[in-house]
C-alpha cells in the first residue's frame, strides 16, 4: 500500500499549482479553473485521511468530499454566470482590466 505521505505530498503540490494559477494568471476563467484544482487537492486529502484512519466505515471523509464536490458545483455555476455577466458588461475577462473601482 502507498504511504500516506505520498498522497499528501501530491495533494500539497496540486494545491500549490492551483495557488500559482490564482496568483499569476489574469484570465478569469483560468482563475476559476485554479480554484477547482485546489478544491480537488483538498478532496484528495479528505479521502486519504479517511482511508488511513482506524474507522473508515463511518464514511466521514466521503461525506466531506461529497459536500465539497456539491459546493464546488455551485461555485462553478455562479462563477461562470458572473464571468459571462462581466464579459457582457466589459467585453473582456482580463482581471487587470476590471479596475472600475480603482479609477
Amino acid at each position: 500500500m502507498i504511504p500516506l505521505e505520498y498522497i499528501l505530498l501530491l495533494s500539497a503540490m496540486l494545491f500549490t499549482v492551483g495557488l500559482v494559477g490564482v496568483l499569476t494568471r489574469k484570465h478569469a476563467i483560468i482563475v476559476l479553473i485554479s480554484v477547482e484544482i485546489m478544491l480537488n487537492a483538498a478532496n484528495l486529502n479528505f479521502i486519504a485521511f479517511w482511508r488511513y484512519n482506524p474507522s473508515p466505515d463511518l464514511h466521514m471523509g466521503t461525506m466531506f468530499s461529497l459536500f465539497a464536490i456539491a459546493v464546488a458545483g455551485a461555485e462553478v455555476t455562479v462563477g461562470l454566470a458572473l464571468v459571462i455577466a462581466i464579459y457582457r458588461h466589459y467585453q473582456t475577462l482580463d482581471t487587470e482590466a476590471l479596475n472600475r473601482l480603482k479609477e
Binding site: E5, L10, A12, T24, I37, L44, Y52, L66, T77
Partner: protein
C-alpha cells in the same frame, strides 16, 4: 500499487500544470479534465469507489462541460490569445506559492507522524452504507446542500440573463450596446 499511484500522480500534476499555463483556453480545460480523471483513479485506488463515480459524473460530466460552454460564450471560437497571459505581479504570486509549498505544506508533512499503511486493510465499498450515513448523521448538511444548490441555480440565472431581457435576448442587447458606444 505504488507504480500505478506514481503514474496517476504524474498525470494529475501534468494536467494541473498545463491547465494553468496553456495559452489556449480549450486545451487548458481539457488538461483540467485529465487532472480530474487522474484524481478519480486515485480515489478508486483508495477504495472510495462511490466518490470516484461522483467525481467523474460531476467534475467531468457537468463542470467540464460548463467551463467549456463558458469559454465558448466569452471568447472567439479559436480560443487562442496572443497577448501575455500572466498578470502584472506574477513573480510575487509565484514566490508566495513556492513559499507556501516549501514553508508550510512540506514541513508540515515532514514534522507530523503519519501512518505508512492504512489501519483497516480492506474496505468493502458499499453505496448503501454511504446512503445510510447521508440520511442519518448528515441530514442537515444534505438539506443545506439542497438549499445551496437551488440558490446557486437561481442566482446563476439571475446574474447571467441580461438586464433588459426580452424574447430576442442577445441580439437586442448587442444592438443597444452598439448604439450606446456610437453615441
Amino acid at each position: 500499487m505504488t507504480i500505478i499511484f506514481i503514474i496517476l500522480s504524474i498525470t494529475a500534476l501534468t494536467g494541473a500544470i498545463s491547465a494553468i499555463f496553456l495559452k489556449n483556453l480549450i486545451y487548458a480545460v481539457y488538461s483540467l479534465l485529465l487532472l480530474f480523471v487522474a484524481i478519480a483513479g486515485i480515489f478508486l485506488m483508495l477504495m472510495a469507489e462511490f466518490l470516484a463515480v461522483v467525481q467523474i459524473l460531476v467534475y467531468l460530466g457537468a463542470i467540464g462541460i460548463l467551463v467549456l460552454f463558458g469559454v465558448m460564450m466569452t471568447r472567439n471560437i479559436s480560443g487562442a490569445s496572443s497577448e501575455r497571459i500572466l498578470s502584472r505581479g506574477w513573480f510575487f504570486g509565484l514566490v508566495i506559492s513556492v513559499l507556501m509549498l516549501f514553508g508550510v505544506l512540506i514541513p508540515g508533512l515532514a514534522f507530523s507522524e503519519l501512518s505508512s499503511s492504512p489501519a483497516v486493510e480492506t474496505i468493502t465499498p458499499s453505496v448503501k452504507e454511504i446512503g445510510i450515513q447521508l440520511m442519518h448523521l448528515n441530514t442537515p448538511a444534505l438539506w443545506l446542500t439542497a438549499v445551496l444548490l437551488t440558490a446557486a441555480l437561481i442566482g446563476a440565472v439571475v446574474v447571467a440573463v441580461p438586464r433588459n431581457y426580452s424574447s430576442k435576448l442577445f441580439l437586442t442587447y448587442k444592438l443597444e450596446n452598439k448604439n450606446k458606444s456610437s453615441k
